[in-house]
């Protein structure tokens, strides 16, 4: 069940919120937690009842490990053993479902074997909830967990707004909030803020991210089919994907934050205008913040972080980014992507160290220098998205070659498929649903001359200069955040519960509803 589907918006969401209001007002807090657990499990089971059973088993086993770690008895050695067993248990499940096929394919190539692991279906959100459970076990080992109870733990892992694609939350962030789940926190103010964030996120997804996808898919599909793009075409395709993933992921994160807020829960910030970053280090402080927090706290720091010398620090950085890449998907393209970012982060840190050593204070460049750095960072990040999106490394290298070599443009200029004219599509999808066939809007967009360039320039202006949803909702405690300085915006930029914002939110929501006939999943659901 996708957030951007009729069934979620018109059936699941009203039922869950209605039930929640009823229980919170009339009955106990415990019952409201049970209700949210049931709703979350139903939400997951809607996709696959078989994998719901897996999720429940994983949660029960982890809760048992957590209980043992928290019980206080046993030597440090025993507790350490328990922690390792818990982590290995979780990683085994993750490796089986996510990496078995990849491992077998690579072993077959390397050792000329014929290992067949069959067609293993990846359970939705397994990468996210596995990390969340590992973080819980480590916190329990460090005795950094309070208020442990089974229903609360179940809700912490399966809370439907963040179950499938994050934000990755800490137990200690959620449990105090679950403890306050009473009618006091269930108020119209939270609901208004939450619904407005959700509506703007929905608009971002269905109107902006999915439109970017039209152009990105066209370019990458053309290369996949053997076409050689012009330099301009390759850059347009890569930047279309850069915008697609930006708006898709920020939309998902905002919808998750908005949904949680409707029931009075504040989730951690996951996304903070990353394309406004002026270097790669800053980019990673703004992109997928909760994943980076996990990798920092549970991988980079235990590896020694930056306390064991410069070389070790860079090795740790590379390891973290390679694993981060692999976390996104079991393919070499993700390893390449992670590796490149590891190298970029290493260079960036080395550069900062060098500048400090020769007496330059960081962050003291002029406005022009800052803007140039933002644009340069954006271009580098855009180029690195290529392997992330490409179906295989050949496609990625072909895109890169086209991006870097203008001479290639003479080989097959105009190799991108030409846009169709404004007519109803000729193919009929079986099953009786006309939604896809009547996607005339897409054909209209494609048929407008230079629509791609105009669209991409508009997107660039938005990501670089427009205030983010985080900024707009800043006075209303948009999300939990760490050490990020809020943008200074005039008061009228900020969301307020007035008629102007009601019209704005209503139009965004209605326009999104009207565009839901062509549903597309969130990109981060595949991880």
């Amino acid at each position: 069940m996708l957030f951007n589907s009729y069934v979620f918006i018109f059936l699941f969401m009203p039922l869950v919120l209605g039930g929640y209001v009823l229980l919170a007002r009339r009955f106990s807090r415990q019952l409201t937690i049970h209700w949210l657990v049931v709703a979350s499990l139903f939400y997951y089971g809607w996709w696959s009842w078989k994998f719901l059973a897996l999720l429940v088993v994983l949660m029960l086993v982890n809760a048992a490990f957590g209980q043992l770690l928290l019980s206080g008895s046993g030597s440090t050695k025993l507790r350490r053993g328990l922690l390792m067993a818990g982590i290995i248990f979780n990683l085994t499940a993750l490796c089986y479902y996510k990496y078995a096929g990849f491992l077998a394919a690579n072993l077959n190539v390397l050792l000329q074997t014929d290992i067949d692991v069959g067609n293993i279906v990846l359970p939705l959100g397994i990468s996210f909830f596995t990390f969340q459970k590992i973080a819980f076990l480590v916190d329990a080992y460090r005795r950094d967990v309070q208020d442990f109870n089974l229903p609360g733990y179940f809700l912490f892992v399966s809370f439907f707004p963040q179950l499938i694609a994050g934000p990755i939350v800490h137990h200690k962030e959620m449990m105090p909030q679950f403890a306050r789940l009473t009618s006091k926190h269930l108020n119209l103010s939270n609901f208004s803020v939450g619904f407005s964030i959700f509506a703007l996120g929905l608009f971002k997804k269905v109107w902006i991210a999915d439109t970017c996808a039209i152009f990105a898919d066209k370019a990458f599909s053309a290369v996949m089919q053997g076409a050689v793009l012009t330099t301009g075409g390759a850059w347009r395709g890569a930047s279309a994907y850069a915008f697609q993933i930006y708006f898709d992921f920020s939309a998902y994160s905002e919808m998750a934050i908005g949904l949680a807020r409707m029931v009075g829960i504040v989730l951690p910030l996951n996304f903070d205008s990353p394309y406004k970053a002026s270097n790669i280090i800053e980019f990673w402080r703004r992109w997928h913040i909760t994943l980076m927090r996990f990798l920092r706290d549970y991988l980079y720091f235990p590896l020694g972080g930056n306390r064991r010398g410069t070389l070790r620090r860079y090795v740790n950085l590379m390891s973290v980014m390679l694993l981060g890449g692999l976390w996104h998907g079991a393919a070499w393209t993700f390893v390449v992507w992670g590796g490149i970012h590891g190298v970029l982060l290493t260079i960036n840190h080395a550069w900062h160290s060098f500048r400090r050593r020769i007496g330059f204070e960081l962050g003291r460049g002029g406005v022009l220098g800052r803007h140039a750095a933002v644009v340069a960072t954006f271009l580098i990040v855009t180029a690195t998205w290529v392997p992330f999106r490409a179906a295989n490394t050949e496609v990625a290298f072909s895109m890169w070659r086209s991006m870097l070599d203008p001479g290639r443009s003479t080989l097959l200029s105009g190799s991108m498929p030409s846009p169709p004219t404004l007519t109803a599509p000729t193919t009929i999808r079986l099953g009786g649903i006309i939604a896809d066939e009547v996607d005339l809007l897409r054909h209209a967009i494609e048929s407008i001359p230079h629509s791609e360039s105009v669209w991409l320039i508009a997107m660039l202006a938005i990501v670089l200069f427009a205030p983010s949803v985080v900024d707009i909702f800043e006075p209303h405690n948009f999300a939990m955040r760490e050490k990020v300085k809020p943008a200074m915006l005039p008061r009228w930029y900020h969301w307020q519960p007035n008629a102007t914002w009601a019209i704005f939110v209503a139009v965004a929501f209605s326009m999104s509803i009207l565009h839901l006939t062509t549903v597309s999943p969130f990109l981060y659901f595949q991880f």
Binding site: F195, G432, I434, E437, L441, H515
Partner: protein, 370 residues
């Protein structure tokens, strides 16, 4: 403050959605609105009723509830003009043909009408040999969820808004448009591409066509039986018909070694009692290939003039000048004579058109090598 904000938001959402609904119901770009506002030059003709026939036609049938339902493939869709049956006991008729229709889709359509208590009195069903042998997978909307999604697509979507706007714009401009469906299900503005299609496109398509045999099996016969059962139970007069093919098409079937399969198929059909065969080597099917042909719009599709003759025969109004075996009702007693006559006519035509067929064979060989 928050309560007022939420009320205002809900109000504006409702206003926006109602405005879009009103626009799309009035413009009705797909022509399926239960409320009709016909405004020539504004929302008529409906150019977006195109290529969506499989999905729009069930709604047309639901709203029009015709006396006669004509079901079949694109050959029916392009050539059977329901207006031809006006002022007859068969009126109003509706052309429910669509591209690559399967027999089971026809039964589904019929079941839909029976379910809403609006069963037609007459049903004419085309039997297309190669369609008949395709797996009969129901493809029409049946569940509430499917109908709801279709409704949303046609009246509450931005694509419908685009279609409404484009309908208005096209009706105000002199822009050329392609083919589109008339309210009675017949397709308008069909392009005639006879010479190119016969000599270039068709040989290429034919080369890419699977070489499957046409073997009659129980599953296929069950589909015919389903029609018979539904029509008997609901007092519907049912007629099957095999529409005409151009002689070139029949020749290629012969060359591919499927003539005997087709004969066996017809022998089985002869036992059903109400099957009319319009195939043959007569003045329609042997029309010489030219840039513009009287009886054919391309190699697969015959013209409305031929469709009118077929409707006349099915409606019991056969004109005297028609070829003797055109629309012959197949029975166990006449089937063998009929098949022999067809074989003889085929051989004669091949002999008489040897030079022409060599050109077709050359085109076919060239296409096969591509």
């Amino acid at each position: 403050m928050a309560a007022r904000f939420l009320k205002l938001t809900a109000f504006f959402v409702l206003v926006t959605l109602l405005a879009v609904l009103a626009l799309n119901v009035i413009m009705d770009p797909f022509g399926v609105s239960p409320v009709k506002f016909t405004m020539g030059g504004i929302n008529e003709p409906k150019f977006f009723r195109s290529n969506l026939d499989r999905l729009l036609k069930p709604y047309d049938v639901l709203s029009q509830q015709p006396t006669t339902l004509i079901f079949g493939s694109s050959r029916v869709k392009q050539a059977f003009n329901p207006e031809h049956l006006a002022r007859s006991p068969f009126a109003p008729a509706y052309n429910a043909g669509f591209d690559w229709a399967t027999l089971s889709e026809g039964t589904q359509l019929l079941e839909q009408q029976i379910h809403v208590g609006a069963a037609p009195r007459y049903m004419f069903v085309e039997i297309v040999v190669n369609t008949f042998f395709r797996p009969g997978k129901p493809q029409l909307p049946t569940t509430l969820s499917e109908h709801a999604q279709n409704f949303a697509s046609m009246f509450l979507s931005m694509s419908a808004v685009v279609a409404s706007g484009a309908t208005l714009a096209k009706n105000h401009s002199s822009a050329q448009t392609g083919q589109y469906l008339l309210p009675n299900g017949l397709v308008a503005n069909v392009k005639h591409e006879t010479e190119k299609d016969f000599l270039i496109d068709f040989p290429m398509r034919w080369a890419a066509t699977p070489r499957d045999r046409y073997i009659v099996n129980d599953r296929l016969l069950e589909q015919l039986e389903a029609y018979r059962r539904l029509c008997t139970e609901n007092d519907i007069a049912l007629a099957f018909f095999i529409a005409p093919y151009h002689a070139v098409y029949l020749y290629l079937e012969h060359e591919r070694g499927r003539w005997a399969d087709i004969e066996n198929f017809k022998r089985v059909l002869a036992g059903y009692g109400s099957v009319y065969d319009f195939t043959g080597f007569d003045r329609f099917s042997t029309e010489p290939i030219a840039g513009h042909m009287q009886y054919w719009t391309d190699v697969n599709h015959f013209s409305i003039e031929v469709g009118d003759h077929i409707l006349d025969v099915l409606a019991g109004q056969r004109s005297a000048d028609l070829p003797p075996e055109f629309g012959l009702r197949l029975t166990p007693s006449n089937i063998e004579v009929h098949l022999k006559n067809l074989r003889d006519a085929r051989d004669r035509w091949i002999t008489e058109n040897r030079a022409f067929l060599e050109n077709i064979e050359a085109a076919r060989s060239k296409a096969a090598k591509l």
